[in-house]
Amino acid sequence: MDSTDTVTRGAAVSLRGLVKHFGDVRAVDGVDVTIAPGEVVALLGPNGAGKSTTIDMLLGLAEPTQGAASVFGRAPREAVAAGLVGAMLQSGGLLDDATVSETVALFRAMYPKPLPLKETLQRAGLAELAGRKVGALSGGEKQRVRFAVALASNPDLLVLDEPTVAMDVEGRREFWAAMRSYTDTGRTVVFATHYLAEAEDYADRVVLLRSGRVVADGSVSQVRSLAAGRVITAKIPHADEGALALLPGVTSVLVRGDSTELACVDSDTALRELLDRHPQARDIEVRGAGLEAAFVTLTRQEAA
């Protein structure tokens, strides 16, 4: 028996050679990802990397130009119709003139085996807001309603597109705590984010996308080590981004105010060269690359 086939069949999510063109734009350009049941996976990438388009195809909202997506071995639309998938979309909206409990109850009513209404509201932290009109809620509270809607079918797979985008720090922490208690029951979660800390803190695995392609896929520490580098931060008067990027050992440069960040594959060489050419550089710091540096290195390769 073909082993990849077995993996695909048992997979929660399988994306095979996924391509999506919008006219001449290749929004997604050959994505292959297999996600096992119970994994919590972050789709990480800058804006325009193809995260949302990938999610749309995974949910059956968009047809791939090439390739195929399957969810629990079924076509995405079938998996959605069976109530196996709950999703929180950036572009998905709620109606302001309905109450929280009316909204959640409506979605529950459409599924074969929904989560009890009370439990849904509780899990999303909405118990106290049940009678409130959606239009009267704050941005973060609305996100919680969308989370409740995603939970309503009691899904095995949760798909979240930038779930915490409208939340403050406290709201974000509460949201992820609620998520955790759900994933502890063995559910699979795929979330797109551009908050690196969220990927680092909450995902078992990170899939890094750039220009519609997977540039890294592995555990947080694997992806971090892929960048295999360090970051030099220094105050360099008259820093020239282009010239600095050409220093040996440097992969990319980021100037933030008067401080400059050099992502490096070989920080020793880079530092020697830097001091050689910019003896006035000061406040120099060298640190191991976090996920953020890996992110910068891996997603800016072409620009660097």
Binding site: D56, L59, L61, A62, E63, V80, A81, A82, G83, V85, G86, A87, L89, S91, G92, G93, L94, L95, D96, D97, A98, E102, A105, L106, F107, A109, M110, Y111, P112, R146, V149, S153
Partner: protein, 239 residues
């Protein structure tokens, strides 16, 4: 499907604009017109009552469907597409909601006819007025939904107002067509609003339903319904 219908109707009943324009407006027009023109002539009053009830039903059904544009704009339809709800179920729920909302517009004008203008008809005639005129709302309910699926949130209001006024005026709901050039009657007879009122006028006169009317209504439902189905599929495929 029942859940979506109940959800829709609850929201519609809550909307203040809905009640003012679709319930109060035809009612006031009926009372105004019939006091001015129909004094002493029960046949004229009954005729006006049916025309104004038809106007209210057209307004209610068109404006209900067109609200869909705003829902699409905020991404509600994308959210619905992540449920087992089928396209057909969605469309049926939407049209049924528009039909249900049009019913009080009809009934209130009829009730005003009885209470204030002393319209006196047999129970059989009332039943016909309610059933035939209500079923006659079907084409305009579908047309309203078509606007909701074509327009943006901003343009839907204007488009539905134009459609509603066009159907009412050209359909002869506001002015008797006999007072206008013959070509206006030809135009009116192609419109569902004309036949909606005409079903009621036939009931008043004790005539059987016009065959031409039934065919015209059915044609509107089929054609508008086909466009709605096509548009819904396109809309879903987008993004």
């Amino acid at each position: 499907m029942g859940a979506l219908l109940a959800f829709e109707v609850r929201r519609l009943l809550r909307s203040p604009r809905f009640s003012i324009f679709t319930v109060a407006f035809p009612l006031v027009m009926f009372l105004g017109f019939s006091s001015a023109e129909g004094r002493g002539d029960p046949a004229v009053v009954a005729y006006l009552m049916v025309s104004m009830a038809a106007f209210g039903a057209v307004a209610a059904s068109v404006s209900t469907g067109s609200r869909t544009a705003i829902e699409r704009q905020v991404g509600w339809n994308r959210q619905l597409r992540l449920t087992p709800l089928s396209g057909v179920d969605y469309l049926i729920s939407k049209v049924a909601a528009a039909m249900l909302v049009a019913l009080p517009s009809l009934l209130l004008v009829y009730a005003a006819g009885v209470l204030f203008m002393h319209v006196d008809l047999s129970p059989g005639t009332w039943l016909q007025l309610i059933v035939f005129c209500w079923l006659g709302v079907l084409p305009t309910a579908v047309l309203g939904l078509l606007i909701g699926l074509l327009a943006t949130g901003d343009s839907a209001q204007a488009m539905s107002t134009v459609l509603m006024l066009g159907l009412s005026m050209l359909g002869g709901l506001w002015l008797p067509l006999s007072a206008l050039p013959a070509v206006m009657t030809d135009i009116a007879q192609a419109l569902p609003s004309y036949w909606l009122a005409e079903f009621g006028h036939d009931a008043l006169a004790g005539n059987v339903l016009s065959f031409q009317g039934v065919i015209t209504m059915a044609a509107w439902i089929v054609v508008a319904g086909a466009f709605v189905a096509l548009r819904y599929r396109r809309d879903s495929a987008r993004v």
